[in-house]
């Protein structure tokens, strides 16, 4: 609770709204003892006095009544009516909702049907009908406004109650022989009250506004009694000649409603944990880059990642997801990047084209050279032109990575169209051709399918087709088969392998599966805790892993090329990237660990075509001929 209030107070706008509201309420409470003129005494000699005239701070209305006094009395009435209406609607609506949610079954069905019917009405129309039946008057307007808000509470509270009604503590109370009424009041009610209060705080503004509206129409408070709405209604006749009589009550309604809204927004924000953590931030079109060191080009191969550093900045915490990673891919080569989830392999892959979600991602160092130019530092316009054209991506889960509402043919065509001017008919032909190339049967009719109409394997073929669309030099495949079934996985892998050999495209293949590496990759780099810990030709590493982590990774894969596996067979957890130890990151889980490992960062040792980051490797790479 105190935390909630603190969060609320931190929100300056909400605080402002709260303060204004408290002031208004305070004044309203004090109205009877304030030295005001009587609100209803008419004095036709002093009609329409302007504001700031003698004795009438806000002037007078069409009957010479003091506007300040009428305003405060009216505000008092409006607030009271709105508040009572809110309480009434909340009480009745919640009672209905609790009963429906708790008893369920037919009771629930019948009640909710009725609620749905009430909600089928345009809201104000229903209030008008009720006032029509009961006759104009403030009390009747109050009843009408409360009544039309009942369904809102009933529906919300029912939802919450359904969630609670089958929790253990309710069952326990039932078994203990408590009656329904006792359970409802002692077990259910205390749990839904916070929700009721929140719902009230969001609707009370509406209710004040609606009762004021009915009064404005002449259906609410009747003369000489006046709330803010009827003051405005009466002033309307003199709008053009004496606008101040309209402005005064109108501004008051506005002030009340805006402070309630500010406060309500603050309450909602303080209660919504997603907003608190900033998770609802929109990722920018390209990852933020704030590099301290920039390696010099031009780089080797088709893609040369040098000393890449990518971090996540969440609040004051910094997570070092990628820590000075260097990788080089030769033309037509398939380089595997393997590691557990959280090792930074995906972030490495996404950093290349600035696709790390940002915020919170920031690239803080390094470079990625493609044909002599650095992609990391490239302006968005240049990066955009290269994305999908020269360097393409394939992602993990094709159901979430394809747009659900656009036909796959169009998504394919778009991949081409954003880079090359191609006539429409030609685009369609190319899309069909691409689907054929990834061995999708009936490509001619499949171009018009939506992703949800295809199987997982099909969708991933579409994703592959999309990556191939512009014949890129490099494809970065981020666990492209992890979400698929074993048999489908094998098919997709062999398709990828064939395509790469046919077209000579280089692949950076991200995976956590040594079986996949064995089948696909020429070379492999092992990643742990944001760093590359070993790198070698696939055959060498499979024959003789040098890093203890690599060895363990391979040990927990009993047969190569099998199904989905998580590497949870390694005892201990992968390190949290915000708490990396000073020495070797693998030390807490390594069974060869010694004092020296923990003391200082371990450097990469290179020999022949191999590299390893370990003080006591399993295999001496210098002796083992690469």
């Amino acid at each position: 609770m105190t935390r909630f209030l603190w969060l609320l107070a931190r929100n300056q706008l909400a605080l402002m709204g709260g303060i204004v509201l408290v002031l208004v309420v305070l004044v309203c409470v004090l109205v009877p003892v304030l030295p005001l003129r009587p609100p209803d005494v008419t004095n036709t000699a002093d009609r329409f006095l302007a504001p700031f005239s003698d004795g009438h701070l806000l002037g007078t209305d069409h009957l010479g009544r003091d506007l300040l006094s009428r305003l405060l009395w009216g505000t008092r009435l409006s607030l009271a009516v709105g508040f009572v209406a809110a309480i009434a609607a909340a009480t009745l609506g919640s009672a209905i909702g609790i009963v429906a949610g708790y008893f369920g079954g037919r009771t629930d069905n019948i009640i909710m049907r009725g609620v749905d019917m009430l909600m089928a009405f345009p809201y104000i129309l229903l209030a008008l009908a009720i006032v029509a039946a009961l006759g104009p008057g403030l009390l009747n307007a109050l009843i009408a406004v409360a009544a039309v808000n009942i369904p809102f509470f009933a529906r919300n509270i029912r939802g919450i109650t359904v969630g609670i009604a089958h929790k253990e503590f309710v069952d326990a109370a039932r078994l203990a022989g408590k009656g329904h009424l006792a359970i409802l009041t002692t077990e259910i009610l205390p749990n839904v009250i916070p929700v009721i209060v929140i719902a009230m705080s969001t609707t009370i503004g509406w209710m004040i506004l609606e009762t004021a509206g009915l009064s404005f129409l002449g259906l609410g408070s009747q003369p000489p009694q006046a709330d803010l709405g009827s003051m405005l209604g009466e002033a309307r006749a003199a709008l053009i000649t004496n606008p101040h009589t309209s402005v005064v009550p109108g501004v008051m309604i506005f002030v009340i409603v805006i402070s309630i809204n500010l406060l309500g927004d603050g309450v909602r924000d303080a209660l919504d944990p997603r907003l608190r953590s900033g998770a609802l931030s929109r990722p920018r079109p390209a990852t933020n880059v704030r590099r301290e060191s920039v390696p010099q080009g031009p780089g080797e191969g088709v893609l040369d990642i040098r000393e890449l550093e990518t971090q996540f900045h969440v609040g004051k915490r910094i997570y070092r997801a990628v820590n000075r990673v260097s990788l080089t891919i030769a033309p037509g080569e398939c380089l595997g990047l393997i590691g557990e989830s959280g090792s930074g392999k995906s972030v490495t892959a996404l950093s290349v084209m600035g696709l790390v979600a940002s915020p919170p991602g920031v690239i803080t160092g390094g470079a990625a050279f493609h044909e002599g130019r650095d992609l990391i530092g490239a302006p968005y316009r240049d990066l955009r032109r290269l994305r999908g054209d020269r360097v393409a991506y394939i992602f993990q889960d094709p159901l979430s990575t394809l747009h659900p509402l656009i036909r796959v043919g169009e998504q394919l065509a778009e991949a081409i169209r954003v880079h090359h001017k191609v006539p429409r008919a030609e685009l369609r032909r190319r899309a069909v051709e691409l689907l054929g190339a990834v061995r999708i049967p009936n490509a001619e009719s499949r171009v018009d399918s939506y992703p949800h109409e295809m199987s997982g394997g099909m969708r991933q073929r579409v994703a592959i087709a999309m990556a191939l669309a512009n014949e890129p030099e490099v494809i970065i495949a981020d666990e492209p088969t992890t979400a698929l079934d074993v048999t489908v996985q094998a098919q997709v892998l062999s398709l990828l392998d064939d395509l790469r050999r046919e077209r000579g495209v280089a692949i950076l293949f991200i995976t956590h599966d040594f079986g996949v590496v064995a089948q696909m990759c020429d070379r492999v780099a092992v990643m742990y805790g944001g760093r590359i810990v070993e790198e070698a030709a696939t055959a060498d590493i499979l024959n003789a892993p040098a890093h203890p982590y690599t060895k363990r990774l391979m040990d927990c894969v009993p047969e190569l090329g099998g199904g989905r596996r998580k590497l949870d067979a390694i005892p201990g957890l992968p390190p949290a990237v915000d708490k990396l130890p000073p020495g070797c990151a693998f030390a807490p889980r390594c069974d060869k660990v010694r004092e020296a490992c923990r003391a200082a960062p371990v450097a990469m040792t290179r020999a022949g075509g191999r590299a390893v980051r370990c003080l006591y490797p399993e295999t001496d790479i210098a002796k083992d001929p690469a």
């Binding site: 345009p122 104000i124 009961l134 309209s246 509402l405 954003v418």
Partner: protein, 315 residues
């Protein structure tokens, strides 16, 4: 598609019946003898006897409901005593005027709300976002009737840009430009709150969508950011925006009553208020049922649009 529309129309029948039941029950709250209540100051003995005969008001409530329902189904909504003309004629005429006003407002608030929300999301925490968020907060806090009055002062009295009230000029009007001049202020005043609500929702819907994987895919393909926002993200966000448009249409349609009073627009809201004050019960009853039924049908149209947009909805 046709099958889906038919299915939705059939499922609307119980809702429409429910609406008549609710209106009937509300009208049964009127204290005293129904005939006298309906006739009000016209309750002469002959009139009472005649209306009892016509509407079966001396029969039990259930019978009375079915007689009323049957009459409505044959297009007989009864006769307005205050206007001395058939209720349906008056309702249809007035509803046309409301439709022009509310329809225009609905278009304004939908387009403006969605665009503002999307811009706001695309520029999250930027200057445009802050300006829009602030404007939205003001917009949803101003009572439409007060806003309407202030607009009259500013744009019809201070600067004579628009006429003060009415739907057509009394002399020589009646053409489309004349209607547009009269329509501008009330339509905007009516749209403001709904625009704010829609903009807020559109912003958060867009922010949700912009974090999804397929947006990253679009960016990875090299789709220009403008197209990512306005094509990929907006299309997906519309799935959650459209139902809210349906709800807001209800607010615009019924909230028109305030604007019709302020701008003396000859719509059905103003008719209802007058009828309520004159206790012309049959006119109120007919007007409410008619508008509510139209709104139910409108919501079916909303569902159909939704199913066109989202192929995952089984049609």
């Amino acid at each position: 598609m046709g099958g889906y529309i038919l299915k939705r129309l059939v499922s609307a029948v119980p809702v429409l019946l429910g609406i008549t039941v609710i209106v009937f029950l509300i009208m049964a709250l009127i204290p005293g003898d129904p005939a006298t209540a309906i006739l009000g100051s016209y309750a002469t003995p002959e009139n009472v006897e005649k209306i009892n005969r016509d509407l079966g008001l001396d029969k039990p409530a259930v019978a009375r409901y079915f007689i009323w329902l049957g009459n409505m189904l044959t297009g007989d909504f009864g006769r307005s005593f205050s206007l001395n003309r058939p209720v349906l004629d008056e309702v249809l005429e007035r509803f046309g005027a409301t439709l022009v006003l509310a329809g225009t407002s609905f278009v304004i608030c939908s387009v403006l709300g969605i665009v503002a929300g999307a811009v706001s999301a695309a520029r999250q925490y930027g200057l445009a976002d802050k300006a829009i968020t602030f404007a939205v907060l003001i917009g949803i806090s101003i009572p439409s009737f007060f806003l309407g009055m202030m607009m009259i002062l500013a744009f019809a009295v201070e600067r004579r840009w628009f006429p003060v009230s009415g739907m057509y000029a009394i002399y020589g009007g009646g053409d489309l430009p004349d209607l547009a001049r009269h329509l501008a202020m009330p339509a905007v005043a009516l749209a403001v709150v709904a625009t704010g609500v829609i903009a807020r929702l559109a912003r958060s819907a867009m922010l949700e969508v912009l974090r999804l994987d397929f947006i990253r895919t679009a960016r990875a393909k090299g789709v220009p950011e403008r197209r990512v926002i306005w094509h990929h993200a907006l299309k997906a966000a519309m799935v959650s925006i459209i139902p809210v448009l349906g709800i807001q249409a209800g607010f615009v349609l019924s909230g028109a009553v305030y604007i019709e009073i302020v701008f003396q627009w000859p719509g059905i809201g103003r008719m209802l208020v007058t009828a309520i004050l004159q206790r012309d019960i049959l006119l109120v009853q007919g007007g409410v049922v008619f508008v509510a039924a139209c709104y139910v049908l409108f919501n079916i149209a909303v569902d159909v649009v939704q199913s066109l947009l989202d192929p995952r909805i089984k049609t």
